[in-house]
């Protein structure tokens, strides 16, 4: 089985390498992209889309179809982690640790023992991470709001400065992951559950594809945001700018949710019980 896998990898690798021979030279000024596509983007992008950041204009508008599938790939990665790792039947762990909050005494309960009632005075703690990490908790609590606002800024400001849905989404996901690391996984799952991450991840991709489909319904090509001008109440050039913002928000939602989803599955080996 391994040999077959190796052979497949070698076959496809050499096929890709063979394909690369037909590429134009690196930075060749006579290659078709340099002759036709790049000058058009550089000269016309602001007039056509009203977006000063060329990278965003190319990524979300001219090559929006490509980016839509990049978002889908990220969602598929989250889905693959779920399919491979998630353990759906509930397993009782070998032992659980509980901390009595008023006294700080730790209880160790073996498999089959009676668990403390879910009252306010006991909290479950991870078996491999026992200490009170006051410094880490307070720092993460202090940093998180700034991190989230910065993430929203990066998503919303992708038109004018470096940034966009992917980067902002990762920062937003990192804020949740930081919470899960500094407190514990169970508390994070209580706040943003597995279902929420899955639904948000697919909703983000749906926003992107739905925007494209809406353009089609309105009589333009798929992902031609100019068609949204009537709905948004602006001229077609500005509508392309706003259309990019809509899909960037979709990308941001999808990326942040999938990052958190992948973290939940990877850090607890699919059990969603005790994290890192």
């Amino acid at each position: 089985m391994r040999i077959i896998g190796l052979l497949i990898v070698i076959a496809f690798g050499s096929l890709l390498r063979y394909g690369v021979f037909f590429f134009p030279e690196w930075g060749d000024p006579a290659s078709p992209p340099s002759l036709h596509v790049s000058p058009h983007y550089i000269e016309e992008a602001i007039a056509e889309t009203a977006v000063p950041n060329l990278v965003t204009a190319v990524l979300a508008d001219y090559r929006g179809y490509d980016t839509m599938f990049e978002t889908t790939v990220i969602f598929a990665a989250g889905l693959a982690c779920f399919m491979l790792l998630r353990v759906l039947q509930r397993q009782v762990p070998e032992c659980r640790l509980y901390r009595h909050i008023p006294t700080g005494i730790t209880l160790r309960i073996e498999k089959g023992g009676k668990l403390p009632t879910e009252s306010g005075s006991f909290e479950r703690i991870d078996s491999n991470w026992v200490p009170h990490d006051l410094i880490i908790k307070s720092t993460s609590r202090f940093i998180t709001p700034f991190l989230q606002i910065f993430a929203l800024y990066v998503i919303a400001h992708g038109h004018h400065s470096p940034g966009g849905g992917f980067q902002g989404g990762v920062i937003l996901g990192a804020a949740v992951i930081m919470y899960a690391i500094s407190y514990d996984l169970r508390r994070s799952i209580q706040r943003i559950g597995e279902q929420a991450t899955a639904v948000l991840g697919s909703a983000g991709v749906l926003i992107y594809a739905g925007t494209g489909a809406l353009c089609m319904v309105l009589g333009a090509a798929f992902l031609d945001y100019g068609a949204l001008a009537g709905l948004l109440g602006v001229d077609p050039v500005m509508a392309r700018s706003h259309g990019m913002l809509i899909v960037e928000i979709g990308v941001g939602i999808a990326v942040s949710a999938v990052m958190v989803w992948i973290y939940y599955n990877l850090s607890s080996a699919g059990r969603h019980d005790e994290g890192l």
Partner: protein, 114 residues
Amino acid sequence: MNILVGFLLVIGLFFFTGGAVGILRMPDFYTRLHPAGKLDTMGQLMAMGAMALYVVGLDLSLASVLTGLKILLISVLVFITSPTATHAIVDAGVRAGMEPWTKSETEDFRDLGA
């Protein structure tokens, strides 16, 4: 003004160099984190201060002062996060049972009451 900016940058580079040498030369995990956490924080303070001064020194206006303040905010962020990160890494090292380096090899880490 430019002399001051250059001076701060050189001081910052001095700290960064010290940090890099320390990471390479220190004997174990915990001591290596010491230069990594402290000297980098100090070095970036100097470098960011130099940049903020440079921006303000180019032309003194509200916009440039705001840019300078934003650069200094990066310093504040690193000042809060870098020691916390170092603290968390040390904590993880202790949890994983990594013993600190001792010169004589006779002292046992567990005797320290950890």
